[in-house]
């Protein structure tokens, strides 16, 4: 009660700006946010079960702001590192499954996260949030494209954004690599996947089916 009783939301904004907030960007409250003005600390511990609407808004925001690509990296940042709604391990498990199954990774990941956090409605919120708002935006961009394209600065800004966005993917890749068991076979499988896809440019389907099946079978035998 002593701390900021009258402006809990302002306090959030401040926290969010300084990057220390576990909780929210302005405008999207945790469930407990406004329960009482004096319970600021309460609202800072993230709610374990976000609502489907809240998830929809988060996925929409990411879908609408993720210039330059690397969306899975944005999701890792948001759900694991900032909000602590999922463990790194749980996220990476979902990512591995999302990559092994057909379908656009980000969409798979959004459904996975949504389902884990909020069941069926969470999955629907993830799917619609990551696709519908950006789909509308991309059509608007297409309509204005000829105007936008005339400016050199548009291209420069996008090239710069794409470069910075690689950081999201690379840091996620390093996080994932750190989680690979430190044994000969898993490390070899990781390197072989990298070489097969990155250097030799073999079709992903066969790499995932081949190396994936081999690696899973070995893991099964070890358990």
């Amino acid at each position: 009660m002593a701390e900021a009783p009258s402006h809990p939301r302002m306090a959030h904004r401040q926290l969010a700006k300084h990057g220390g907030a576990q909780d929210d960007a302005p405008g999207k409250g945790g469930i407990f946010r406004d329960s009482a003005s004096g319970r600021l600390t309460m609202s800072e511990t993230s709610p374990p079960h976000p609502s489907a609407l809240q998830l929809f808004l988060i996925f929409s925001r990411i879908g609408l702001t993720s210039f330059g690509g690397g969306l899975s990296g944005w999701l890792l940042r948001e759900f694991v590192e900032d909000r602590h709604w999922m463990s790194e391990e749980e996220f990476l498990n979902g990512l591995a499954i999302s990559q092994a199954l057909p379908g656009v990774n980000v969409k798979n990941m959004a459904i996975w996260i949504g389902y884990r956090l909020c069941g069926r409605w969470g999955a629907i919120a993830g799917f619609t949030g990551i696709i519908v708002p950006p789909a509308i935006l991309i059509i608007l961009i297409a309509v204005g494209f000829t105007t936008l394209e005339r400016f050199d600065i548009t291209h420069l800004a996008l090239d710069g954004a794409a470069a910075a966005a690689i950081g999201l993917s690379l840091s996620m890749g390093l996080t994932a690599a750190r989680r690979v068991p430190r044994r000969l076979v898993p490390l070899l499988v990781m390197v072989a996947t990298f070489v097969a896809v990155g250097v030799l440019r073999l079709p992903l389907v066969w790499v995932v089916l081949g190396l994936g099946a081999f690696s899973v079978a070995l893991a099964y035998a070890r358990l």
Binding site: S98, W112, I138, A142, A157, A163, F194, V199, Y220
Partner: protein
């Protein structure tokens, strides 16, 4: 124009099923279908749409939304988007459901542990390919590495990171002799 809508589905549903490891793998095939087989777009129009999908935020596969829009307006956009994202959505949903139901089963641990090195290799390979093909050469690669460092060492917000990256890139581009 139900025929156009059916044609969109006939092209994009099969494509959605072969996109393992992300939508990028399907782009070449999509280009062939859209430009050479169906004649929905000229090569130049396809290249423009591709450029827009890279420029826009959100999943890169929204390229199909643009193609659908181009072919049959609003409903074309809706049908194409559902065709590319919909079928596989049920698959991951089913798996997520089974996952929660059989938490801790041996096959599940085996899948988690076994797929982990493959997933890590795939992400790093994607980054490697992106790094090689990045527009803007060493300057852009330097920004990519700096951005990685910033993400791993600080709690910077991704949107701020992207904005700063773009600003630095524009600034250095202006400052350095071409």
């Amino acid at each position: 124009m139900p025929n156009a809508l059916l044609a969109l589905m006939a092209v994009f549903v099969p494509l959605s099923l072969v996109t393992i490891g992300g939508g990028q793998s399907a782009i070449a095939d999509m280009q062939r279908q859209v430009v050479e087989v169906q004649h929905w777009m000229t090569q130049a129009q396809f290249v423009d749409a591709f450029a827009i999908s890279r420029m826009a935020p959100g999943p890169g596969s929204l390229l199909v939304t643009l193609i659908g829009w181009h072919v049959a307006g609003f409903w074309g956009a809706v049908v194409a988007t559902l065709a590319i994202f919909g079928p596989t959505a049920f698959m991951i949903y089913g798996v997520a459901h089974l996952w929660s139901r059989y938490e801790g089963a041996r096959w599940q641990r085996a899948l988690e542990l076994g797929l982990r090195p493959v997933a890590a290799g795939l992400i790093l390979a994607a980054v490697y390919v992106l790094m090689l093909t990045l527009d803007g050469g060493w300057l852009a690669r330097l920004i990519a590495l700096a951005s990685t460092g910033a993400l791993m060492l600080t709690r910077i917000n991704p949107l701020a990171l992207i904005a700063i990256g773009a600003a630095i890139y524009i600034g250095l581009h202006a400052a350095l002799p071409a």
